[in-house]
């Protein structure tokens, strides 16, 4: 009897994953050359499906990395000459900020306590900040920033490059790539795949910045997976280094499955399931939603304070084959985290709620 994973990544595999994996094995995609027409067709297909799903215009390229964490580094390397700006309210938004410091960028920070979120009205961006680093969904605390707030901010600061971490929420956030210069995610969250592939969406504005830094400012923008190199190969649907061909194929097929359902339906289902979870937590005497402001509550990673030890709760539902996450870091013992990704259905969320009630 298999477990059902409600963990915030790695997470439950999307139900169609297995059949796509089988097809890939039958077609020996693990052995094909990444310089073959077969690979270029795969990249092109995945690119097309992601464009439909996330409404990505032709101004933006879609690139593959080893992980989303790698993209933190690539974005800062390629697009920040001196200064970046970070909204930080949890462990992952902080890591983006830490990466900037490690690269010796001058990193500005606007911080909020764990569990609180940002509205556009809170934010003043420093004059010389070149890239604004936002986290759509803070996986550690279950806080989201609404895309409308991101878009408002960009309209107020149109000359700055906006980069959005959508690791644990894509394809849920309806980003307007007419405004957002870059976004990225990894496949082991809402796309329901094993970990090992990061996806980086970046616009021509980012490419131009990288080229300027390299050519005119004589800066190093790194050596591996630089944006100019990625883009050059992308023109013929290739990659500079051997990529994870198998996962790129499966990602395209799962994106196609999502497109068959329709992104609007997936977003509505996500909101419906999130509503069920938050309603249960609000009404329960044993749990309460960690994030107090409703507009900041994540739709994809629901975090709850537990009255009893969270380890007991996790162990209890595990008996029913349901795996949920513990709190992050120092809140490990007093919180649970429940992923609400497309791989789990309304019925399965209802089952989880029944078990949590026991």
């Amino acid at each position: 009897m298999k477990n059902l994973y409600f963990t915030p990544g790695p997470a439950e595999l999307y139900p169609t994953f297995y059949q796509h994996l089988q097809t890939a094995m039958d077609e020996q995609l693990g052995s094909i050359s990444h310089r073959s027409q077969r690979f270029r067709d795969i990249y092109k297909f995945t690119d097309e499906q992601l464009r439909i799903l996330l409404n990505i215009p032709q101004t933006h390229g879609i690139f593959f990395t080893g992980s989303a964490s790698e993209v933190w580094e690539r974005m800062l390397f390629n697009c920040v000459e001196h200064e970046s700006f970070h909204l930080v309210n949890g462990s992952f938004s902080r890591k983006f900020y830490d990466y900037a410091n490690s690269l010796h960028k001058f990193a500005h920070i606007l911080e909020k306590p764990f569990g609180e979120g940002f509205d556009s009205a809170d934010v003043e961006i420093p004059e010389y900040a070149e890239v604004v680093c936002l986290t759509h969904n803070e996986t550690s605390s279950g806080v989201q920033m609404r895309t409308t707030d991101m878009h408002k901010l960009k309209r107020k600061y149109p000359k700055k490059l906006f980069c959005v971490d959508t690791v644990s929420s894509a394809p849920y956030p309806d980003l307007d790539f007419g405004l957002i210069d870059s976004a990225f995610f990894s496949v082991q969250k809402a796309f329901g795949m094993p970990a090992g592939l990061g996806v980086w969406i970046a616009g021509k504005s980012c490419l131009e910045k990288a080229e300027r830094l390299q050519r005119y400012e004589s800066m190093t923008i790194g050596a591996h997976h630089t944006l100019p190199t990625l883009w050059k190969h992308y023109k013929t649907y290739e990659t500079p280094a051997t990529p994870n061909v198998l996962y790129i194929y499966i990602l395209g097929k799962i994106a196609e499955d999502f497109n068959k359902i329709g992104i609007d339906t997936i977003r509505k289902q996500t909101e419906e399931k999130a509503k069920m979870l938050y309603k249960f937590l609000d009404d329960s005497g044993d749990y309460s939603p960690f994030v107090k402001e409703e507009r900041h509550r994540s739709q994809t990673v629901v975090v709850a304070d537990t009255k009893s030890s969270s380890a007991d709760v996790i162990a209890a539902v595990k008996k029913a084959g349901l795996i949920i996450g513990s709190g992050y870091g120092s809140l490990k013992e007093s919180q649970i985290r429940i992923a609400n990704f497309p791989a789990v259905t309304v019925e399965q969320v209802a089952t989880l709620i029944q078990e949590l009630k026991k």
Copy 2:
């Protein structure tokens, strides 16, 4: 009917790959947390099996990246303050050198023509070079550098850090990690897995250098996958970012399969198959070995000049379900490349030779 891939990576999957993948799926390893005991056990197992296979001492750590190309960058970032030194005789050794230039290191180069190899006597290492970058197997030209020459060089220059690219040859080369500070490979070559995982072996000498650069020289050594961060997490068999858990598991199982056969046997089988291929090429009127010096002929990637168009040869053997590689770059039309990895047997090599004869 499945094809049999003699391509130099991605290559034929190792026969046990499929059963390990099935086990991983049955155990839902695509969904487990990378902060769980189950993952730590997997990392530990893979670490142990690779240590046995490659005779890696406790002075060295084993780390995972997105690809071997990523390791070029990490090695240079973490271990070169000012100057690196590169032996270049093909496209991949050149890329290592190019990466150093991209990172604004002062990169010394000793170059030989495509198809020629290095002996220790050829090499004088510049006084201030900190890291010596060697390529055991130049995948583009089919040239190898003997490990005895590498060891000799290190003995002559004991204070310099030696880093060996074994991408398309590991586990064949019998490196002495009492001398060699770092080596790396990717899994889509001789380990017979799909691409998407790099393996970086690095000694304490490398870690100490990285820490010194970071602390005392106030240099940036990058942000993602820095050696101090990798090593810190490695102590408890964890990784800084979410790794490719599935591939780490399968790599450990294939390394275990190799260990059951025994590394000596695998090396002998490799040499036996290489001998068959080179003998055929030497005797043939239609083909000739591209690498003239026998001691420089790669045991794992055999490159041949073809009398007729290589495209015709490739198409002809493909009819028998055998896939071989074209020449690299400008030699695409006049050469073929044949991978000789553990996934293909003596009998299969014999079959390929029969087809090439036709």
